[in-house]
């Protein structure tokens, strides 16, 4: 079972105060901490679990600059056998369409039974690179996979649907699956583990060597303007020390009839 996993380095914005960059089309990322996209973390774990069960290889791929190699090192530490980075200094000039073209071109020449991507990326929230690649590479596919078994050369997948329903399908390999969070419990990666994985193969491919046409490298969507959410009335903020805040909450609960 040869598996390719596409992973992306993204800024952690969970508790960060975000500012719009000077160009006005993205956020200022200077002070943000980067790490593997949450969905991709589950994807690489799923690939390594399959390898441990069925044998084979796991290859991690990313498009980005040298800093983005951190994601690949993490994948190698988790159990990937080798990694490929397609060199691109500023990926924000590409859209999902271009990224899917780049990845497809590289993956086309590799041996694979499965390709995993995360359902979407935490930064742009587009969630389209995976399925664009499936079409580009003409392979079978399933979206938002929350459970996966390999049986007789086929993948038995459960796709998450809205409202607590799962859709079970049987798919012929090779196939591309977009992996949903919660499918497994990604293993912990130590600094020592990352250091140990430094011996593994990490190859860099120049974008120019891929021979993509101008059309393939032309984004089809362009961010004209990024901005902070428009002001809304929002919540009435309760202030004071914990004791005072608690009294205010109790008052509300009583008024709404859920506390005597």
């Amino acid at each position: 079972m040869d598996i390719i996993v596409c992973a992306k380095n993204v800024p952690d914005v969970a508790e960060a105060d975000l500012n719009i960059s000077d160009k006005g089309t993205d956020i200022d990322k200077e002070d943000l901490v980067f790490g593997i996209n949450d969905w991709d973390n589950y994807a690489i774990e799923e690939a390594v679990l399959l390898k441990e069960k069925h044998g084979g290889t796991v290859t991690a791929v990313t498009v980005g600059n040298e800093d983005d190699e951190e994601v690949l090192r993490r994948c190698l530490a988790m159990g990937a056998d080798r990694a490929i980075r397609i060199e691109a200094d500023d990926i924000s000039r590409f859209d999902s369409f271009v990224i899917s073209k780049i990845l497809s071109r590289v993956i086309k020449d590799l041996q694979f039974d499965l390709i995993f991507t995360g359902v979407l990326a935490e930064d742009d929230y587009y969630g389209m690179v995976g399925m664009m690649m499936a079409e580009e590479l003409n392979v079978n596919h399933a979206n938002m996979v929350t459970a996966l078994e390999i049986e007789d050369g086929k993948a038995r997948t459960t796709s998450e649907l809205e409202g607590g329903l799962g859709e079970v399908s049987l798919i012929e390999l090779p196939a591309l699956l977009t992996i949903q969070t919660g499918i497994n419990e990604p293993r912990y990666v130590s600094i020592l583990g990352i250091r140990k994985a430094a011996k593994k193969e990490l190859k860099t491919i120049e974008l120019a060597d891929l021979g993509l046409s101008d059309e393939e490298l032309s984004p089809r969507t362009i961010i004209e303007e990024a901005f902070l959410p428009p002001e809304t009335e929002g919540a009435e903020i309760l202030t004071g020390d914990p004791d005072k805040i608690s009294s205010k909450i109790i008052e509300i609960l009583k008024k709404k009839g859920v506390m005597e």
């Binding site: 800024p11 969970a14 508790e15 975000l18 999902s96 369409f97 899917s100 930064d123 929230y125 969630g127 389209m128 399925m131 664009m132 499936a134 079409e135 079978n140 399933a142 979206n143 938002m144 038995r156 459960t158 796709s159 649907l161 809205e162 409202g163 607590g164 329903l165 799962g166 859709e167 079970v168 399908s169 049987l170 977009t178 969070t181 919660g182 419990e185 089809r220 969507t221 362009i222 961010i223 004209e224 901005f227 959410p229 428009p230 809304t232 929002g234 919540a235 009435e236 903020i237 309760l238 914990p242 805040i245 608690s246 909450i249 109790i250 509300i252 609960l253 709404k256 009839g257 859920v258």
Partner: protein, 326 residues
Amino acid sequence: MSELFVIVEHRLGEIRDITFEMLWKAGELAEMLSSDLTAILIGHEVNSIAEKISDRADKIIIFDDEGLKNFNADIYKEILAGLIEESKPTLTLIGNTSWGMELAPCLSIRAGLPLATDCIDIISKNGNLIAQRQMYSGKIFANVSFAESDGYILTIRSGVFPTDRIGDRQAQIVQKDFALKDITVKKNFIEFVETAAGDVDITQAELLISVGRGIGEEDNITIVKELAEALNGILSCSRPIVDKNWLPKYLQVGTSGKSVTPKVYIAVGISGAFQHLAGISGAGTVIAINKDPKAPIFRTADYGIVDDLFKIVPVLKDKILEVKKG
């Protein structure tokens, strides 16, 4: 006359709300752009579904075949690529649902049309099409334009547009056939499974105390559980808690879990991803405790406490027990 396409989403014989929401937005755009509004309905024995939207579109194109009973992205893609080639619609709207997220990117490549996913609005600015969407967990909004093209595909986020009827339309029904035998299906539908069945039904609760990622560690959930017990409320949670296996799926509030309608919903350490907010749109009063003042939950909540939950929750619990003792 230009044309707008809306792809009807339905499941197990029921039309999905996202279809009505897309038809609402498309109805508004059709008036603005003087376009015809065409709904595309693919399935088997779908007449009752067509009836439900017959006053919301100018035309309904129906593909009815036993082989179309279950959703299959590749079959949908081939049918739609053919239709798009034939009619060249200005816009094709698809739901940003699990199925739509599989279909739209494939169709975009197959038909050679630009795609923007998860749109929360569609605007025309100086005659140019602009899709509005969110990035960075809803903390940033973005206006997106497109490379020049004959048509564009947009997927629409659930719950942002009304499900109401807009305008006055009477749909002409057009039945079409598709040569199913021409495509080899390599993905077979097996079954639907309930992934959120369990002992507790959070959809019936009057008071929910919900815990999210901000709780940090599994053991910490105890303090939220104790708060729920002190209030005789029911404990629920957001997705990250279920992903980590800390609480069962049947306690999950949100798009992929349950939609809830309590009188009061207390969100503890929940930032408020839109999938979660969609699940609490029917809640009476929302009280949110989160230390990030920019957390999207504060945009929807009625009351907010911007503070460390570990400082507030234990004090609140003690105070409730005290008040109850009288």
